[in-house]
């Protein structure tokens, strides 16, 4: 650093800053949780390991968390243990939809990521990203002609997520430190997604309404054929036995 004078160097020292201790601690804990979860998932797919060492889960419990959080994590850990070695990877978890075994893990990862967002804009944008995820899940279920109860769950998830987005956007708008340019960009992204979601919902509604109508029609035809059979005998009976 020979070509810099002391005055300039001292001046530049003003630019050295440290993040808040609270943020450092929160990030360290969340990174640890995320990595521990991924390592357990990777261990399950390792064909050389016959069992997951129980001590590997200790990190999940050595943090300062409430009883409910510990219970939630132990349930998650049990789910990981129960999953066979065929498809339990973080990538697979991210591509999962309601009804899949890994869907719970996917949502757990999202909760961890959500907890790490700090600025109002990044919180809002993350919720919009999750809205896009929920829409993709519904789209995948629709393409696979999934059961109506899974479709309903996916639609409920979108509705719930849309509320989360609205809450975060309101928080951003109320926050005087928000970047208006950034907020504008995020709002545009949300509006585009809302339009896509509307088309998707209409498509799903039409498809499952048609299915519902077809089912009713089939049911109606079955009912009719049953009624016609018994009616004929009755007529014969009423006519005094007919050809018997």
């Amino acid at each position: 650093m020979n070509n810099i004078d002391n005055k300039t160097r001292e001046t530049l020292n003003v630019l050295r800053t440290r993040p808040d201790n609270a943020w450092v601690e929160k990030t360290r804990i969340s990174l640890g949780k995320y990595i521990s979860l991924q390592v357990q998932v990777e261990n399950v797919t390792d064909s050389n390991s016959s069992r997951i060492p129980v001590r590997s889960f200790n990190f999940l419990f050595n943090t300062n968390m409430g009883k409910q959080a510990k219970l939630a994590l132990s349930v998650l850990a049990s789910m990981i243990l129960l999953i066979g070695g065929s498809f339990a990877t973080a990538t697979a978890a991210n591509a999962s939809v309601p009804g899949d075994l890994l869907y719970g893990i996917d949502r757990a990862y999202e909760d961890i990521q959500r907890a790490l967002k700090t600025s109002p804009e990044s919180k809002a944008e993350f919720e919009i990203y999750l809205l896009e995820e929920r829409a993709q899940e519904l789209s995948a279920l629709e393409e696979n002609d999934s059961e109506p109860d899974l479709i309903e769950e996916a639609v409920d998830n979108i509705t719930e997520q849309e509320e989360n987005v609205q809450t975060r956007l309101r928080d951003s708008e109320d926050n005087e430190n928000s970047d208006s340019g950034e907020l504008e960009r995020i709002r545009e992204r949300h509006e585009l997604q809302q339009q896509e979601n509307l088309k998707l919902m209409e498509k799903v509604q039409n498809k499952y309404q048609i299915k519902n109508d077809e089912n009713k029609q089939d049911q109606g035809q079955q009912d009719n054929s049953t009624n016609n059979g018994s009616g004929q005998s009755d007529e014969n009976g009423a006519n005094g036995g007919g050809n018997l």
């Binding site: 530049l12 050295r16 440290r18 993040p19 990030t27 990174l31 990190f59 600025s119």
Partner: protein, 172 residues
């Protein structure tokens, strides 16, 4: 605490060692917006974890690799946020140092404004060089690896950048 580096504590170790300087680096590139810098710093460490298998200690030190990942993340980030590219405008209400005492806050605020204004007048490449060399205190060799340039080219560029900055600071 275990001294053996495992998959689990690898990133924890990297985070403990480098989070302050990475945060500083990102802060300078995001207009000194603290919350945004915190978010991006977190994302960088997640990306470091995901890229851990690609790290080759023979090609670069852990510190250099961390900076490369950070820089690449910032490039991707700005690519997706064109309006914010190279935005160094300081927002008046942003906190800048959590350990600044109340007595020195007024002086530091004025000096901070002067420095960020001058640095803002530099070209992005010049700004980055000054940040890496004099704030992050990286060696020329490390900077050359991060920026994928020749060491002598970096030396000359830094010399020119600091000369320009000194001139700008004296005009303030």
């Amino acid at each position: 605490m275990s001294t053996v580096i495992t998959k689990e504590n690898f990133i924890a170790n990297v985070f403990d060692k480098y989070h302050v300087e990475i945060f500083n680096f990102i802060l300078s590139r995001t207009g000194y917006r603290k919350e945004l810098a915190e978010d991006i710093t977190q994302e960088v460490f997640f990306r470091l974890w995901k890229s851990r298998d690609k790290y080759n200690p023979k090609k670069a030190s852990l510190r250099t690799w961390t900076y490369i990942i950070t820089r690449n993340y910032l490039i991707d980030y700005f690519r997706g946020n064109k309006e914010n590219r190279n935005n160094i405008n300081l927002k008046p209400d942003d906190e800048f140092a959590s350990d600044v005492t109340i007595e020195s806050a007024v002086d530091n605020a004025e000096l901070f404004r002067a420095v960020t204004q001058s640095i803002g007048l530099l070209k992005p490449a010049e700004r980055e060089l000054i940040q890496l060399r004099y704030i992050q205190e990286l060696k020329i060799k490390e900077i050359a690896k991060i920026l994928n340039k020749n060491g002598d080219t970096i030396k000359v560029a830094i010399h020119r950048a600091i000369k320009k900055l000194r001139r700008l600071l004296s005009n303030e």
